[in-house]
Structure formats: structure tokens, C-alpha cells
């Protein structure tokens, strides 16, 4: 459903991503792993429109996305979270989710200005939906608190629901488990599966191998910008190249 074909990204001579092709299957969790600086985040940024690929293409359901702007890509059905948490800090938790819905709203500027019926109906609808989403990750009780006052783990959850708010086809998660403790990671595991049940496809970058091996259906391994290996978790875990470059010997 989402695929990249021979994507290369070049930062003034430094090739961060080199000729990478991946395919994300619908309703599956696909993982992208690899050593630090392998180019995972860069690839994410390229898919979500922060960077333009130097060459290659990004396709979602047959629609070309390369070179499109971030908001267009979001409208096309790709949502994302960030490696460094990127919330609207001073807005309330609820508002963060509402902003996430922006690309799906119909009310025009004039509707907004004049508070037409259309706008009021829509507002009511999205408020309900936002509360639903917050309940989904147990953040409903914080709805009116500013996002900045949440603890790190909760901020991560909020970022995920904010992404889900735009009803995406695919959501890209960049290290969702970073900064979480074991218990929270277990919860995240469940959450990811729930998201799949909602009909949203997931592409995830993560360094926590336990989580990755648990949840993912298919794994791509990047190293130095190039695809090192791909396959299902079992296969990857046993791949000696991957072990040498990334996983390290088992203890």
C-alpha cells in the first residue's frame, strides 16, 4: 500500500539514504530498524514530506507523494509522530487532537467566522470524536491540561492519538517506546495492535528489540543508508549481518 522505490537522499554530499525500496503491507505492522544514523528518521521525513528525495519515488495506493508538502501528504492519508516529541505545548491535550483532525474538516473560513450551523455541528462532532480518541489511550482525564504538563510517556501517547485523529491510512511512528519503562512498553504493545484493528497500517522505527520482535509482521533493516536485510522477525533475529551491525551478541 505504501512503498518507496529507490529513494536516495543526499545532504550536500552525505548520502543519508541510499537507494532504499520498502513496501508496507496494509493492516500490518512493518518495522524499520538499524544502527544510529542509519537513515531511518530521514526516510520517515522523506515520506512525510519534510525532505524531498534526491531521487526515487514514494507511492501511497498508486498516488505519487514525492515532493509534496507535509500537509498534502497528511491529507493523502499519512500521519506521523516524531523522534523528538513535537507537540503544541501550550495548547490543551484536547486541542492537540483537534488540530490533528484539521485536514478532515469541511467548515470553510467563512463558516468559522460566522459560526454557521455547519461549523457548530462539525465542532460538536469532532469534540466527541476527540474525547473518544483520548479515552482510547486513557488520556481523557487530562483533556484540558496543557500538553507540556504531561509526563514523557503520556506525551508520546498523545502524539500517537494526534496522528490517529486525521484518520490516516498509514501512521509512521518514530521510536514510540523511547523513554518508556517496561510496563508502559507492554501497554504500547497492546495499543499498536488496537491501532491495527482500527484499520490503520503502521510503519514503526524502534530500538527496543523486544517490542519490535513482538509486534511487527515484517522488518526492514537499514544500515549506513542502505537496506541491509528484510524479512519476518525470526529471520531477522538470526541474520548474522544484522546481529553484527545492530543487535550485538545475545547475552
Amino acid at each position: 500500500m505504501l512503498e518507496t522505490n529507490n529513494v536516495t537522499i543526499n545532504f550536500g554530499g552525505l548520502i543519508a539514504v541510499n537507494n532504499v525500496s520498502i513496501k508496507v503491507q496494509p493492516h500490518k505492522i512493518t518495522a524499520l530498524i538499524g544502527p544510529n544514523g542509519a537513515g531511518k528518521t530521514t526516510l520517515f521525513n522523506c515520506i512525510s514530506g519534510v525532505y524531498k528525495p534526491t531521487s526515487g519515488e514514494v507511492i501511497l495506493d498508486g498516488q505519487h507523494l514525492e515532493g509534496k508538502r507535509g500537509f498534502q501528504i497528511n491529507a493523502a492519508g499519512i500521519a506521523r509522530t516524531y523522534q523528538v516529541i513535537n507537540l503544541f505545548w501550550k495548547m490543551s491535550v484536547l486541542e492537540n487532537v483537534l488540530v490533528g483532525m484539521n485536514s478532515r474538516l469541511k467548515a470553510s473560513f467563512w463558516d468559522s467566522l460566522l459560526s454557521t450551523k455547519k461549523k457548530r455541528e462539525e465542532e460538536r462532532r469532532i469534540h466527541e470524536r476527540a474525547h473518544e480518541l483520548l479515552q482510547f489511550v486513557h488520556l481523557d482525564e487530562y483533556a484540558d491540561a496543557p500538553a507540556a504538563s504531561l509526563s514523557y510517556g503520556k506525551q508520546r501517547l498523545l502524539e500517537i492519538v494526534r496522528g490517529l485523529a486525521s484518520d490516516p491510512k498509514v501512521i509512521l511512528l518514530d521510536e514510540p517506546a523511547a523513554g518508556m519503562n517496561t510496563a508502559e512498553k507492554a501497554e504500547l504493545d497492546i495499543l499498536l495492535n488496537k491501532i491495527i484493528e482500527m484499520g490503520v497500517t503502521i510503519l514503526v522505527v524502534e530500538h527496543d528489540m523486544k517490542l519490535i520482535m513482538d509486534v511487527s509482521d515484517y522488518i526492514y533493516v537499514l544500515c549506513n543508508g542502505m537496506l541491509l536485510a528484510e524479512g519476518d522477525p525470526d529471520k531477522i533475529q538470526k541474520n548474522p549481518e544484522v546481529i553484527a551491525a545492530y543487535l550485538g551478541g545475545d547475552e
Binding site: G37, Y152, G179
Partner: protein, 239 residues
């Protein structure tokens, strides 16, 4: 052994939010101590308060370093005493190169001759950084930034090194290397206090541990004992 660092009935208030509620803890000279706990427990607040990086008026209680009260010192003065911290969220100088970032770590050092060697040894530990030495800090990958943050901390040759979630965002292989490095550093004589979410690796590296929950210390023991504690096992080790 002498207590290098001691917190006595330490409280921290963010305005009206009482986020650390009267904790007592200490680190002895040459020791390696870990502080674990759930999200929002107040670990970062504690660490940053020791380093003088939180607003001083939020502090109640005493922080002693080498027997001297330092809870009123500003950050730069604390750094001058020999306490260095690798901050949560990395805090790399985004528009300085990797090399300059490292040099800033050695800002207070007088022995300018040895700095060069120390930088080289950081590069030896993290070859990835050597490749990127002239790149701007802000454009590094997340993991590279974490390495840089730790490297910068090392360069001040501190007496006490504070690390806030050093494994955050690092590849499994590097995580192992980092903790091996921390171990080495400690063995070379630097006292270490670190916060870590990966409790397993934390407890298997450090000598002693404190467990923190919603602003209070709920347990403290040697790591060996903590690892065997059933509650810890359940809450932090996922067993």
C-alpha cells in the same frame, strides 16, 4: 567511604506543583548509583537540581557535595565543582560542530594540553562521531546526539557524573557499549549517578539503586537485592 553527594529532605516545587517530596539519598565516592522509576517520578528534576539547572527558588532541603551545601549555586558554579551532567533530551548545541560541542564540554578545564587527547579518546569510543566531527550538532541523528551528549559530559573530567537516560534512542549494540563505557569510567575513578528506564541493564551495571515513585523514594538497596525484589521485578523488569 566518604559521601560525595548527599540529598537531605529534598523537595522540589514547580510553582505549585510539588514534584519531589522530601527525598534522602547519597552517593559515595567511587560509587555507581542508579535511580529508576516510572515516568514523571521526578528523576530528572532531582538530577537537574543537583546540577543547579532548575530554578533555585523551587528547592527546599539541602544538597551537599563534598560536605558543602550547593543547593543555592547556579549551574555554572556547580559545574566548576566537578559535577557534569548528560541531559535528558540531549541538549546538543545545534549550530556548533561536533568538535566544538566536545570542546565546550571542556570549557572549565585548565589543562588545555590534555583536552586534545580526551577528545580523541571520545572519538575512539564513538567512531560514529569521528566521521561526523565537522557536522553541525543539530543535524545529527538522534542516537549520534546521545553519544555526543555523553562524550561532552566526559570531557569535563568530572568528579561526579550524572547521566539522564543515557540509553535513550540508542541501538541495542550501542547501549551495551555505553554501559561498558560507563563501567570503565567508573572504574577509572569517576563517581556516577544515572537515571535509566531500561531497569534491567541499569540494575545489572550499578552498585546501588534507588527506586522513585511520584516524587518519593520507595526503595533503596544494592542492585543485587533490588533485582531479586518481587515488586521491582514486577514493575520494572517485566517479569
Amino acid at each position: 567511604m566518604a559521601k560525595l553527594l548527599e540529598l537531605i529532605d529534598f523537595h522540589y516545587y514547580y510553582g505549585n506543583i510539588h514534584s519531589v517530596k522530601g527525598i534522602n539519598m547519597h552517593v559515595e565516592e567511587g560509587e555507581m548509583v542508579t535511580l529508576i522509576g516510572a515516568n514523571g517520578a521526578g528523576k530528572t528534576t532531582t538530577l537537574q537540581s543537583i546540577s543547579g539547572l532548575t530554578k533555585r527558588k523551587g528547592i527546599q532541603g539541602r544538597i551537599l557535595f563534598n560536605g558543602k551545601e550547593i543547593q543555592t549555586y547556579p549551574g555554572s558554579k556547580v559545574a566548576g565543582l566537578g559535577i557534569a551532567q548528560a541531559l535528558e533530551g540531549r541538549h546538543i548545541f545545534s549550530k556548533l560542530t561536533v568538535d566544538e560541542n566536545l570542546r565546550m564540554g571542556a570549557y572549565l578545564r585548565k589543562d588545555t594540553k590534555n583536552i586534545k587527547d580526551d577528545i580523541d579518546s571520545v572519538y575512539k569510543r564513538f567512531p560514529r562521531l569521528l566521521e561526523r566531527r565537522n557536522q553541525l550538532g543539530g543535524t545529527l541523528s538522534g542516537g549520534e546526539q546521545q553519544m555526543l551528549a555523553i562524550g561532552r559530559c566526559l570531557l569535563s573530567r568530572p568528579k561526579l557524573m550524572l547521566l539522564d537516560e543515557p540509553s535513550l534512542g540508542l541501538a541495542p549494540l550501542i547501549v551495551k557499549e555505553i554501559f561498558i563505557a560507563i563501567n570503565e569510567i567508573n572504574r577509572e575513578g569517576t563517581t556516577v549517578l544515572f537515571v535509566e528506564q531500561n531497569s534491567k541493564i541499569a540494575l545489572s551495571t550499578a552498585h546501588r539503586g534507588y527506586v522513585m515513585q511520584t516524587g518519593e523514594i520507595v526503595m533503596s538497596d544494592t542492585c543485587k537485592n533490588l533485582m531479586e525484589n518481587t515488586e521491582v521485578k514486577k514493575a520494572y523488569l517485566g517479569v
